[in-house]
Symmetry: D2
Subunit: 260 residues, 4 copies
């Protein structure tokens, strides 16, 4: 047998009479003292949030919990309709669609902001950085993530709400400015009003909180798991998945059918 590399986790361990997570004693330091959102912050960053960070982090996580009948929610509902004995798999299946298209645009926005300004720099030339970001996206034939919305016009109301919460709690830094400058620059370039949307606001606020962009998709995944459980419960009580399936099947194959 070849020499083994060590395997090691630093997340959690236990003895016969204690359980430790991220260095804190679960029974003495966590239960009854740390809320679910702050526990998520601890899991992502290895420390508990300050009271200010807690409010802002919980706001962006909460914003991602429930978006109604998204593709993910439909997946969870269709899955529970075929396997009602396996709620966990229905939620798991629903998460699988949180990829580059939906949750990924949040990740992309955070990445662009952090690549343009690796550490928050109050002296940065925000307008120049924004132009460079938009230039690069346009040159690559890519869209600018985090701006505009197909339903919420003229503005996604969650964006100003999140920005206001961040500002009220001390997170009014250069990433907020840069994200808004990117939206403005992109709008000017395309001759449209394309204000920052919820995705862009969450990305900018996550940057202000010091969260690496690689983590940002994870916030979406964990938050949406909560929402998908709610869709399981509603589907079990008031189903719509089978009706949807029948409707789509009829609409999509009707052209093949002989007249009856």
């Amino acid at each position: 047998m070849a020499k083994r590399k060590p395997m090691r986790t630093d997340i959690a361990w236990s003895t016969t009479d204690s359980i430790t997570v991220k260095g804190l004693d679960v029974c003495k330091d966590i239960l009854g003292k740390v809320s679910l959102g702050d526990m998520a912050f601890l899991e992502l960053t290895d420390r508990l949030p300050t009271p200010q960070e807690s409010i802002v982090f919980n706001a962006i996580a909460v914003c991602l919990v429930e978006h109604g009948l998204t593709p993910s929610a439909l997946v969870t509902r269709l899955t529970i309709s075929g396997a009602p004995e396996a709620m966990q798999a229905a939620v798991g299946a629903g998460l699988c669609g949180l990829g580059s298209v939906f949750v990924g645009s949040m990740e992309d926005a955070a990445r662009l902001l952090q690549q343009a300004m690796p550490v928050p720099d109050p002296q940065a030339d925000i307008a120049a950085l924004a132009r460079a970001i938009v230039d690069r996206q346009v040159a690559a034939g890519a869209s600018v993530p985090g701006i505009g919305h197909h339903i919420h016009k003229p503005v996604d109301p969650r964006a100003p709400a999140l920005f206001a919460i961040a500002r009220a709690h001390g997170f009014d830094g250069p990433y907020l400015a840069l994200m808004n400058a990117v939206a403005e620059e992109a709008g000017r370039r395309l001759g449209k009003n394309l204000p920052c949307n919820a995705t862009g606001a969450i990305a900018a606020v996550a940057c202000e909180l010091g969260l690496p962009w690689e983590i940002v998709r994870g916030i979406g995944v964990m938050a949406r798991a909560i929402g998908l459980v709610a869709h399981v419960l509603e589907e079990l009580r008031n189903p719509l998945a089978r009706e949807m399936k029948t409707l789509v099947e009829e609409m999509a194959t009707a052209h093949f059918r002989p007249a009856t």
Copy 2:
């Protein structure tokens, strides 16, 4: 085309300038005001928790976030090692194992408690109900869920911690009494010390909170999604999945190999 049944969701909807979830305006009533744990309570029960309920509900949810290198965590780590571009699928795959064996025992415990006492009854003969529960499990050749622990001896420290939190916030009702009576009765029957474990405590506290047992597994699923994101992050930084795979492959197939 046949007559269609209506499809309807009451979870969320939106207009051009507002988003509503469970009857609350996301921007005005939720963001910055409702924590992630309370949002989960809202999603599960259609109302916000009282301050007392919030502390107790958050405690049981937090208790389910992180259990270290569980089978689910290993699944998530093995999956991200093969598909690092799809964190969401690694978490989704990890959730798929939260079935009848692990999270299911929490659901079973809550179900037994609620079937024995459909509404909390302060006059109930707790000892008689506990005997009936244990009798039925023994007769069916089934174990009694929510008691004993293979590592934490003599007692899983999370159970008394959760019971103390529930009692301190006004949830010291008959389900707590019944769960502990079940543990005592089962221990007597089997001649062992089998105190209530974290699973049993969470089940009992969820009953006190008025959560239907069908919802209980959902709390485990949503909470664990948070923990699995942490395992994704650690696996990306300090991997152990491949080493584990090599180790297991060698151990499990070594007997077939010709000596070299």
Copy 3:
């Protein structure tokens, strides 16, 4: 560290210059000689099929590959629309819905047949066994699996086709008789024409092939994975998932919208 139990697999192992699966040398005995369907038979039963078994087993597996826009296919399509970079997760998510409702009815039918007649018995009183099966299902308030069809009337054409293939290749045994007797008995009891459907035919033929009922769902899972890849490909070329999502969202939340 506690004493370890041995871990062992007998499915596959390898040396530097050979790979063995189920006792066969992959390069010498399998590649170019064993078809995909026969490989599946080998994986399920630990031996290659006879030519007769091969035709019959391939027929039931093929029959399960593609059922059009099933809930599983919609799940795969919705998932690839959100995460086009992770085809494997889109197929994996689609499989998650193959539970007790759809694929489960095939498993249920096979289980009922094998429980009624644990080994094929040419002397069995088929009519009596069929009555007992229907009696037990009716008494339990359960439906009889494997009979009737909501679209294919008067008969699901795949059932007689599969029965004919089985008979033509020497599998015209008591399980075929029992399944058809169950359908007849259930029809008589309910006053309807409820002939055996594809699900029931596959279950009966699988029993004739000597496959344990616990394996039957697995045939459905592996076959459907093939079909779901086809839905991924069509969705990438000619998408319908987003249109479906928009349609359902509008239909299901329209009643909340103020008139515009």
Copy 4:
């Protein structure tokens, strides 16, 4: 409601008395006549294979069914150990890891071959194309997919086996030559013997079969689903997942434990 785009599938449809898949009548043209592997070819390419194509396609698909205790197999086993009631989700979870690292290298190899030579060109300067491929990978700091093997030395025996099958059935074209030239060029560049492995051979043969590279990962996904069902069955009969979990947990957290 906005104007709807049409939804349409061309994969399958049905009437009350017939079912059509890819233009073929399931009962008349497929069942009993088309094997599972040929059905997969039909699903991927919209036509049945020739006898020669059938042997070669089945060989590459069969080659991907079973690779022993891969990360995917371990995922399936860990998942079934927690949710034995949901075999479909255990297989689905296992598929989720077939991403860029494992199955992706097969896709990458096929893509590189097809980008270098979009249509098979018997006049192509194979050596020059191979050099260009290796140059580009080296310049990008990327590895060359489809060559070398960490266990099978000096050569993965499946590669020459697959090449021999392809050649024996008329698929001895420029993609086979190019893949082998790439392996030779990369070996020369790195000063090592790096012959084509199973992944590279499958990619080259798939190109000879005219399969677009975007489809190649799908062959791996569908084939592996078959193998994962076999791992479910073995895990249920002779489990190793829990022992593995205990072993890894102890090894990975032991350094935290106080001496006992």
